[in-house]
């Protein structure tokens, strides 16, 4: 078992609300670890609309998802949060001595006084194409992500998709695979031009195949794939022999393990009060798009407000009996010291 990380707060989700929670908690001397299933901060702002403009962040007439993320990272820098990317929190349970134990799918274990769920629309997970019978091959012949490249050595691999993941894995796996076929619905790619060029060179050199079409069925037995049935763009069907298939259709949001943590849920959202944004379990908070309360608006600015009020209650839990003096960052020398500006 890995070493246990002991901390004041674990924030689940590194989207804008999770990041701003680091700021509000930091002002009250509460140290945070932030866990996110993506490989970088920003949440939906990073994954869904990094380049798209947002017009309703107060005082920023227009900002892109990527800019908002980088500004928040700059703002929370003084509080030195520890990020755990590519991790999904799988389990949360109460500790007898108070606080919670959290476990991630990467085996990291936290003991934390409080948990702040800022998981937005849930965790981003690979989209699973609804090909009939695909479940029977998942994790034996069909993989939605590559955890260990070695497991694919010597295989006849069919990669489906036209984005960066599809192209990157085509190039990475081609040297160790017995054969690689890339299948995409059109002869255009939304991937790095350099990767596309390299792929086309491999095809020309006869080192791999590129085919146009979409998978409609799978053949094989006992979880081992022998071929994928493809509908070509001329509507002609053909089979691609393969014993491993990697479909890359982007990510989708699923509520995920949150549903199993014993919290009250309402239509896949977590009900909270509007004073502390605490869930049905004391010490577990929910802020941002994942919570619900009368009048809830799924706006980033609402999540920021929720983070500020949540932090007040977390302070009280951490410092029982201590009075929290309300201070402004414009005038408080102690807050300015924490921010490193005085």
């Amino acid at each position: 078992m890995s070493d246990v990380i002991t901390t004041d707060a674990v924030i689940i989700g590194a989207g804008p609300c999770g990041l701003f929670a680091v700021f509000e908690l930091g002002l009250l001397d509460i140290r945070c670890h932030v866990v996110d299933i993506l490989d970088r901060p920003g949440g939906q702002c990073a994954e869904l609309y990094p380049e798209k403009p947002i017009y309703d962040i107060p005082a920023l007439p227009v900002v892109t998802g990527a800019e908002l993320t980088s500004r928040l990272l700059e703002q929370i820098k003084p509080f030195k949060p520890t990020f755990h990317f590519n991790h999904m929190v799988t389990g949360v349970k109460k500790l007898e001595e108070g606080g919670f134990e959290l476990e991630t799918d990467g085996g990291t274990i936290f003991h934390s006084r409080v948990v702040v769920i800022a998981a937005g629309g849930g965790s981003f997970q690979p989209k699973k194409p609804p090909i009939p019978g695909i479940e029977a091959y998942e994790n034996t012949s069909v993989f939605y992500s590559v955890k260990k490249m070695e497991a694919l050595r010597g295989k006849d691999i069919l990669i489906v998709g036209g984005g960066d993941s599809a192209l990157d894995w085509t190039l990475n796996l081609h040297p160790i695979a017995n054969s690689v076929t890339l299948l995409h619905r059109r002869d255009e790619f939304r991937a790095a031009p350099d990767s596309v060029k390299k792929m086309r060179e491999l095809v020309e050199a006869g080192k791999m195949q590129f085919k146009l079409g979409q998978v409609t069925g799978l053949k094989g037995e006992n979880g081992i794939l022998s071929a994928a049935t493809v509908k070509g763009n001329d509507s002609q069907g053909f089979d691609v022999a393969c014993n491993a298939m990697l479909p890359f259709f982007g990510l989708t949001m699923k509520l995920g393990p949150v549903a199993e943590w014993g919290l009250n849920l309402h239509e896949n959202l977590i009900p909270v009060d509007t004073e502390k944004f605490e869930t049905s379990v004391e010490g577990i908070f929910a802020i941002g798009d994942i919570n619900t309360y009368p009048g809830k608006l799924k706006l980033i600015l609402s999540g920021f407000h929720e983070a500020a009020l949540m932090a007040q209650k977390v302070f009280k839990l951490k410092n029982p009996g201590e009075r929290l003096m309300f201070q402004y960052t414009t005038s408080s020398s102690s807050l300015q010291k924490k921010l490193g500006v005085s």
């Binding site: 609309y49 619905r185 979409q214």
Partner: protein, 106 residues
């Protein structure tokens, strides 16, 4: 006002009123039409509002835009009449529009 009919995979039909200027996706979500997930809320960034425009309406709804074409790479079972419903604007011309909802947006 434009009437829009959503046809589910099992053949169930639901006709709702669309307001000119709104997208077909927004119209679906507002009326709780099943099968239009719209994860990204209309930013053309998720391909979970995929519909098949009935053949007689393909011309009036027009061609897919380049961004939409890119996003359709992330949809399943893309056909010639595939559109992302967040990219179809409701207008009087589309009064009577019929679109099919895929079995799953995945």
């Amino acid at each position: 006002m434009a009437k829009i009919t959503f046809i589910q995979h099992n053949g169930t039909e639901q006709t709702v009123e669309g307001l000119p200027g709104m997208s077909v996706m927004e119209t679906a979500v507002k009326n709780m039409v099943p099968g239009i997930d719209a994860d990204c809320g209309g930013a053309c960034a998720c391909a979970t509002c995929h519909v098949y425009v009935e053949p007689e309406w393909v011309e009036k709804t027009g061609a897919r835009n380049p961004m939409e074409e890119d996003m359709l790479d992330f949809a399943f079972d893309v056909r010639d009449n595939s559109r992302l419903s967040c990219q179809i604007k409701v207008s009087d011309v589309l009064d009577g529009l019929r679109v099919k909802v895929p079995e799953k947006q995945f």
